[in-house]
Each structure stands twice: as C-alpha cells, then as structure tokens.
C-alpha cells in the first residue's frame, strides 16, 4: 500500500476546517461586536519509521535532496490545523443614536455576569431590565466598578471614560477589561469570551474610549474571506487530485504489474 495517500488526505481535511471557519465568519458578517477567525497550519510529523537510506544524488546534482523533500527514509508528513487565530481588530462604527448602544474604541471588553461566571464581550448592544439593570441582549447584567448597574429610567449619559451619569449624578463606571494575552480568550457563544489565563494577565483599562449611541460592527472582511474560501476550495480539489493519482498508481501496481499476457 502507498501510505502517501494519507498526506493529501490530511490536507483535504485541513481545508475542510478552513471552510468551516470561513462559514462561521461569514454567517456573522452582520453580528455586532463579532471578531473573525483566521487559520494557521502546521506540519504534523508522524512517528518516524525505521530509517532507510535516501539514495544519494549524483555528484553533479546541485540541489540536495533535502531541499526538495524534507523526508528521510519512510517518514510521513501530514498537515493539520495548528490554531485558529482571532482577529481582534476594531470593527466599523455604526451610528444608532440609541442611548443603550455602546462602542469601545481601542482595547477593552465589557464584563458580563453570567450564571457560569464573568464573561467578556465587545458587543455594546445593551438594554435595561424591568428593574432598570443594564444588561446584554442575552439577559446578563453588565458590570460596573460597583457591580451591577441599576438605572432609574432610559435617560442617562455615558462619557468616553465609561462613567454613567443620571440627572447629573455619577451612578457608576463601566468595567472595561484588557488582557495581556488575547489568545487565552475562549469563545462561548452569545458574543461572549471566557478568559482562561491567570488573573494577573487581566486588568482594568485605564483610559477607555466609549461612545454612546454607536455600535461596533463585525470585523469580518467579506472580500478576504471569499478569497480564502476560493483558495480553500481549489486546494481541496488539488488534494483530491493527488489522492486520485495515488489511487491510479495503486491500480497499476495491483492490476498491471505481473499481468500475464497471452
């Protein structure tokens, strides 16, 4: 059997993953505060088998074999998804004039108190509960420096520092968190992130810039994603071609070599 057929197979599977990530990005092209994903690949080395000697190239051969094929003996190489990288770039500003809409300019995330603990979000499409508590669209209270924020009516102002004023009086200040290592943020749906890193890597943003009456649009770039989708599609096709060629080779070796002709 030609084991090499598994190499293009690993590539095809990796491209499938890419399409899944792109599908999720594009499904959220209009989701407020959404941050898109990108994919990185890596070579996966299988356990090396017993080393066979690579046939030496002729003396006048300029390029060493290792430049062309980083394989010695019968080692197999596979490709796999190394990681999904979040693009935390700023999304476009959308003016809504709605007093419970907020946009964060620059770093920082809102803190949201859920049943499972504190989650972080870039989505500032908030609302008030019947008791006047400022909450997200999923119904979880947003945290201020004094805890849950309770407002009396819909008329309130929030300045760039995140300070909430009602009737000219300071009610609370929105908590905005910064993370030393963004890669520790895990998505949990509902536009929320969970921070799994050590607490000392998380800090309150000192000089946040919050804009009331604005929302941050999704940062998914449709053109970039469509181009990536075409690339994924064609790579997938190429891997399939390679697999089909390996199939033909196996067909030859099993059916034509040693064929008795009359």
């Amino acid at each position: 059997m030609l084991k090499s057929i598994y190499t293009p197979l690993s590539g095809a599977i990796a491209q499938e993953r890419v399409l899944e990530i792109i599908a999720n990005n594009l499904a959220n092209v209009n989701t407020v505060g959404f941050k898109g994903d990108g994919v990185t690949f890596k070579l996966l080395e299988a356990e090396p088998e017993k080393n066979y000697n690579t046939p030496l190239p002729p003396a006048n051969f300029k390029i060493s074999m290792e430049d062309i094929l980083p394989l010695r003996g019968n080692e197999m190489l596979y490709v796999g998804v190394a990681g999904v990288e979040r693009d935390l770039a700023q999304g476009p500003a959308i003016e809504t004039k709605n007093p419970t809409d907020f946009m964060i300019e620059g770093d920082g995330m809102f803190a949201v108190n859920t049943q499972e603990g504190v989650r972080y979000s870039r989505s500032g499409a908030l609302g008030l509960s019947p008791d006047g508590i400022l909450m997200t669209q999923a119904g979880h209270p947003v945290l201020g420096e004094k805890g849950t924020i309770t407002l009396r009516a819909n008329a309130f102002e929030v300045n760039a520092r995140g300070e909430i004023y009602q009737d000219g009086q300071l009610v609370d200040r929105l908590q905005l968190h910064k993370f030393a290592d963004d890669s520790q943020l895990e998505r949990t749906g509902n536009n929320y992130f969970f921070f799994g890193g050590p607490p000392e890597q998380r800090s309150l943003a000192e000089s946040p810039a919050i804009r009331q009456g604005f929302l941050e649009g999704s940062n998914v770039n449709a053109i970039k994603n469509l181009t990536a989708m075409i690339t994924a599609h064609r790579s997938f096709e190429a891997y399939q071609k390679a697999m089909s060629n390996y199939d033909k080779m196996m067909d030859k070796s099993s059916n034509q070599i040693g064929e008795i002709r009359g």
Binding site: E16, E20, N24, N28, N30, L151
Partner: protein
C-alpha cells in the same frame, strides 16, 4: 463539510430575519409615531477542538486554540425608542409627546394599552378617542357646544363654554423603564410585558415624563437612507452565505469524483 453547509444556512436565516425587519420598518415609514425595530445577532456555540492555553507537551503552551463556530443566530428584535420628528398639522386633536411618555387608552376588554400616536378624535359622546375608537384614560369628555379646545404642556385640557374658559381634565402619561420590552400588538399600541417593567403614571411636564405639544404629530423614526444601507448589507450578507453553501457543495462533488 456538512458543518459549513449548516453554518452558512444559519447565516442566511439570520439575514432573512434582518431583511424582514427592515421591510416592516420601511412599510411604516409614514406611520405616526412608529418606532423602528432592529434585529440583533449573536454567534452560536463553538466546538472546542483544542482549548486555548492547553499544553502540547509538558512545559509548552499552544499559542492559540482551535474553536470552530456554528454560525449566527437571532438574539432579539428590539424597538428603538428614539423620538421621531415633529410634524405640525394645525389640527387641535393632534398631540405629540416630547419626551419618553406614552398616552394611555382603554381597549375593548377594559385593559389599558399605551401609544405614542397622538392623533385623537371625538366620538359620539364627545369622548377623546384614538382612530380605532379606544378612549383615553382617564376619560376626557368635550362638552357639547364648546370651542377653543386647548391642551397645555402639562396636559391640562381647557375649553370655552359660552365665552368662559373651563378645565375639563388632564391627560396622563405613562413611562416605562425599558420601553424596548413593551409588547407590540399592532394598531400603534403596546402593552405591558414582564420585560418592560410596570408603568409609572403621572402628569406631563413633571419627572421627565415629557411635555404635550398640541397641533403636532410625531412622525415615524425610520430613516430611509439608513434602512436602505442596512438592506444592502443584509442582502449581500445573505448572498455571501449562499456562496459558502455553493463552495461546500462543490467540495462534496469533488470528493464524489475522486473515484
């Protein structure tokens, strides 16, 4: 592979609701005191293939995990209670609330509904009623043969009977802590829901209730240009998700053609 097909389908579904909402906003561009709606979306659950911060071998931490999302979903469609522009009508039974208050009217079943639509009429008993005949609460009866019907900023209604100014009542307004949570029942009416909170009833021009402006109506707060732009982005987002389905389908076809 099937997953990307389903993911793109959730995106298409979300955009369809988005366009439905925009269609309703545009249909009501001339509806008195209409408040536009907005569809809000969330991302769906993620399949965590490898959590961020996990160790690949002892002592090494992978820099980024692998989380694959399952698409988008509709989180809410909420009404945006920004004030519409005022339209001077010179009709003395037209009122506009300048501020967050709602008029209170009584429905057929005796329950109270709320409206921002201040276009009122007189019924055969002289009562102040909405275009659908629902009387204002508390009732205001305009006496026969009166003239100079006038409503002050504070909602006090006065008329002239035989040359003498007479006070015949005061319009009361209601305010909600979360007007976006009110239940829409059509006919420009809303009712209390668990999300809106209880109404705070009071006289106009006090406690931030808003003033009453006679001879004016509040126009719809739908902005056509804004809706058109949303419609374009919504349609393109729909299209782009259909392209993902197409690509997924073609990739499946390629697989089927391998042998």
């Amino acid at each position: 592979m099937m997953r990307s097909l389903m993911t793109a389908a959730t995106g298409m579904e979300a955009q369809q609701t988005n366009i439905d909402t925009i269609a309703n906003n545009l249909a009501n561009v001339n509806t008195t005191a209409f408040k536009r709606s907005r569809a809000n979306f969330h991302d769906l659950l993620y399949q965590t293939v490898r959590a961020p911060g996990q160790s690949s071998t002892t002592g090494t931490v992978v820099p980024s995990g692998i989380q694959i999302g399952a698409g988008a979903r509709l989180a809410s469609v909420d009404k945006l209670y920004t004030e519409g522009a005022s339209k001077v009508t010179e009709r003395n039974l037209d009122f506009m609330v300048e501020g967050p208050g709602f008029f209170r009217v009584q429905r057929d079943d005796g329950s109270v509904a709320y409206t921002r639509d201040g276009r009122f009429d007189k019924d055969n008993n002289g009562r102040l009623v909405t275009a659908d005949g629902f009387p204002v609460v508390p009732e205001i009866v305009i006496p026969q043969g009166s003239s100079d019907f006038h409503v002050g900023l504070d909602g006090v209604v006065t008329v002239k009977v035989e040359g003498e100014t007479q006070e015949i009542g005061q319009i009361q307004l209601a305010q909600f802590i979360n007007p976006a949570g009110l239940q829409n029942i059509g006919r420009n009416l809303v009712t209390v829901s668990r999300a809106s909170g209880d109404p705070v009833v009071g006289a106009p021009n006090l406690n931030g209730m808003g003033r009453i402006a006679q001879n004016q109506l509040e126009s719809s707060n739908v902005n056509i240009v804004e809706e058109m732009v949303s419609m374009i982005t919504g349609q393109r987002a729909y299209e782009i998700n259909s392209k993902v389905i197409q690509t997924g389908d073609q990739m499946l076809q390629t697989t089927n053609n391998v042998r």
